[in-house]
């Protein structure tokens, strides 16, 4: 079988001939190219759609193709009319579904638009190997490839070549309103990306694509990327996610961030998500949701380290080892009595410096600064600032410890948002600036 390297833009419109018994006559023109969507890194062409000279749309499976040359596509048998039952369900159409659409360039960590697609022969099959996202792709689509190339070469002194991205480093996006599962391409390429890069890409996408992209990721990666997103984006996506996945994602977040987010969704969705979460996690989040976000109760997290007073330092380390993974802050350890009231606090540094068999009550300070659940955010923040704490414990009317407010949450309160937003590009890192700019 004779096959040549070609671009989809050049293939569309190419004459289709029927070659039988030594003669060949043109029967139509190529309208689209179908590939097998799932599984393979470089999917093979499964067939061609052509507009027959009698006006009908026909489908020629690849098995009936004798040759694909620069001038024509040659078939061995007359193609049948195109019907939806004749074609495989996971098929992708290159011109209709992929060209001009946005895709994720996994290695380049950004969203790009497909200007053209490159097919290359591999044995007896023609495979999709790359997409062209550069300017030369646009020139080729306009049919100005030769002029364009020489112009570009002169303009950039030969630096601008074809901007081809290998197909196995690319993630197409599903976006049709009416057929959301039509694009069945594996999402595993995204697994290679770092969560914050993923988050930056998600921010760049349209609302419709954001949710479907998150849905395609594995639970863990989805949660990690989700955490890095701006709160508005999180909210927007959360409303579109299936409740099961939403629950999984929320579970992975720190309870205080989860509570802040859930506080913004409508009551129905909130109840739905909470009911699908692990009971322990849901309990923590529900607890935090009960408090007004403008108070210490709304700012705090329930993930802190606490110990009973009777331990020795070496035993205390054992206790901490078990809960260190979950805790928001490991540096302060709170000593609580049987009812949960604070007896004292010690720092990790104190524990490390002490001899292993010292009882912790000898190391802990009993002069503990606390705030009550309904203290205002500003008061909590200024307290943290005044005493230079990493965190301050929150207690209820009965004196029981309910959570801690950490310094990072306090900073958000202290920094006047209006000033921060007035100059969004000054003093920020590039990634944040790009994200902010992408929103405009």
């Amino acid at each position: 079988m004779e096959l040549v390297e070609t671009f989809v833009s050049q293939l569309v419109g190419r004459p289709v001939v029927l070659a039988s018994n030594g003669t060949s006559e043109q029967i139509g023109k190529v309208v689209d190219v179908a590939i097998a969507g799932t599984a393979e890194s470089f999917p093979p062409v499964t067939g061609f759609y052509l507009k027959h000279r009698d006006g009908s749309l026909r489908y020629a499976p690849f098995s009936s193709v004798r040759a694909v040359t620069e001038r024509e596509v040659s078939l061995a048998s007359e193609p049948a009319p195109a019907t939806s039952t004749a074609e495989p369900a996971d098929q992708l159409l290159l011109a209709k579904d992929l060209q001009d659409k946005q895709i994720v360039d996994v290695d380049g960590r950004k969203v790009v638009r497909v200007n053209d697609l490159k097919l290359a022969p591999a044995g007896d099959s023609l495979r999709l190997i790359a997409c062209d996202v550069g300017v030369s792709g646009i020139f080729r689509r306009l049919g100005l490839k030769h002029w364009g190339k020489s112009l570009l070469e002169r303009a950039s002194r030969g630096k601008m070549g074809d901007a081809l991205i290998s197909w196995d480093a690319v993630q197409p996006l599903a976006h049709d309103v009416s057929e959301p599962i039509r694009l069945r391409v594996p999402q595993d390429r995204m697994e290679r990306m770092h969560p914050s890069d993923l988050a930056a890409i998600i921010e760049e996408l349209n609302a419709a694509d954001q949710a479907s992209l998150v849905e395609g990721l594995g639970d863990k990666l989805a949660a990690e990327a989700f955490e890095q997103l701006e709160p508005e984006t999180q909210l927007s996506i959360l409303e579109d996610l299936k409740p099961e996945l939403a629950a999984d994602v929320i579970e992975q977040m720190d309870p205080d961030d989860a509570a802040d987010l859930l506080a913004e969704v409508d009551a129905q969705t909130q109840a739905d998500i909470l009911s699908r979460m692990e009971p322990e996690e849901a309990k923590d989040v529900r607890e935090l949701l009960r408090h007004d976000e403008a108070t210490a109760g709304g700012l705090m997290t329930t993930e802190y380290l606490s110990l009973p007073p009777g331990l020795r330092v070496s035993d205390a380390f054992e206790h901490i080892r078990k809960s260190a993974e979950e805790a928001e802050l490991v540096y302060y350890i709170y000593v609580l009595d049987a009812e949960g009231c604070i007896l004292g606090v010690l720092s990790l540094r104190d524990m490390i410096r002490a001899a292993p068999d010292t009882p912790i009550k000898d190391i802990a300070t009993d002069d503990v600064v606390t705030v009550s659940l309904d203290a205002s955010r500003e008061e909590v923040a200024s307290m943290i600032a005044r005493y230079d704490f990493l965190a301050v414990p929150v207690i209820d009317e009965d004196g029981r410890m309910r959570g801690i407010v950490t310094v990072d949450d306090a900073i958000d309160v202290l920094m006047p948002e209006k000033v921060r937003k007035l100059f969004p590009y000054v003093g920020r890192s590039r990634a944040l600036r790009d994200r902010a700019a992408a929103k405009n």
Partner: protein, 426 residues
Amino acid sequence: MESAETVKIQPTVKRPRAWRSIVLFLSIVGPGFITANLDNDAGGIGTYSQAGAQFGYGFLWLLIPVTVALIVVQEICVRLGVVTGKGLGDLIREKFGVRITLFVMSALVLTNLFTTVAEFGGVAASAEIFHIGRFVAVPVAVVVVALLALVFDYKWVEKIFISASFIYLTYIVSGILVHPDWHRVALATFVPTFSPTKAYLLMFLAVVGTTITPWMQFYIQSSVVEKGVKPKELVYSQVDVVSGCLMTDIVAYFIIVACGATLYLHHIYAITDASQAALALAPFGPRLAEILFAVGLLNASLFAGSVLPLSTAYTVCEALGFESGVGRKFREAPVFYSLYVALIVLGAGAVLFLHVPIFVVLVYSQVVSGILLPVIVVAMLFLVNDADLMGKYVNGKAWNAIAWLTAVVTIAATAALLVASLFGFS
């Protein structure tokens, strides 16, 4: 162990949560309001003023059908944006491919270039009232506009300009205080008049072009996409659009009335400078009228000048796949910045170095918008009627009829203008 001492903080009153839903509503309502204010830019004020001066109340009737058309066209863009979550440029690219996108983008850049010239023209005209020469005013405006676009956060910029836009209410006040013959005004509003002259056709296209500005359709769609409005919230955006359009066209109406009752009746049929145009606000007293007019025009010009070139650069780059974004360096997004700079430089340069009367420029720039409007409207119609794209949100028959009619009438007017120019009907 002693029980711990605690430092107790006094509890504060909890904030009510009712205000949150109001804020939510206000945060969705917005794009229509803002776009409406952008609609009355320098080209708008100039065109409506000239329409009133040259034709008296003759164009009042047009405002009603044009407002209906504007509501339909903007609602289509808002619906496209809300349902697909994508900007108009993206949709055009994804449905029509590279060639048509290039064609549409060229048309857009052309009309936006002319409009940019108009904005800087507006700056120069308003500066005249304060006796500041254009060679000082325009370069300063370039710096201001570039700073606002590239350095400051857009939302803050928006707020400042919107609040200043309330100056347009002066036209409504003036239109009433000037005691026009309301009988004649009412007649002109509901009874169409038409003269097949070149001047009339030019003004027709200008009024259509400045009210249904092509770039604003791209802009409003991007705004709702950026706000992340969901399909179930569509009705809020629709209300927003309708109220915005009504507001802007009420102001336009009163600009025409005020100019018709002052300039036209005093036989000033062609506005040559800003102080003449300011006569429309005569009831405020000569000096105050000039100041109000100048401030209003300056506000409009600077606002649109900050938004329009940037929005154009974004739209073109996103549709054609070039890197864009003010957070990036020039090297990283060369096409984006070059396009932006080119629009500003050419726009300002034209005002400074071409000796065309400003108020002529203001009107003619909108004629270009009117001529190229059908290109955008037709593209929109194909998109919004595509069931694959819009699902159940495709256009209804009435909407299609109005939009197609708008495109057809505008094309017909353009053709008539061409005929009139070639065969010399003045």
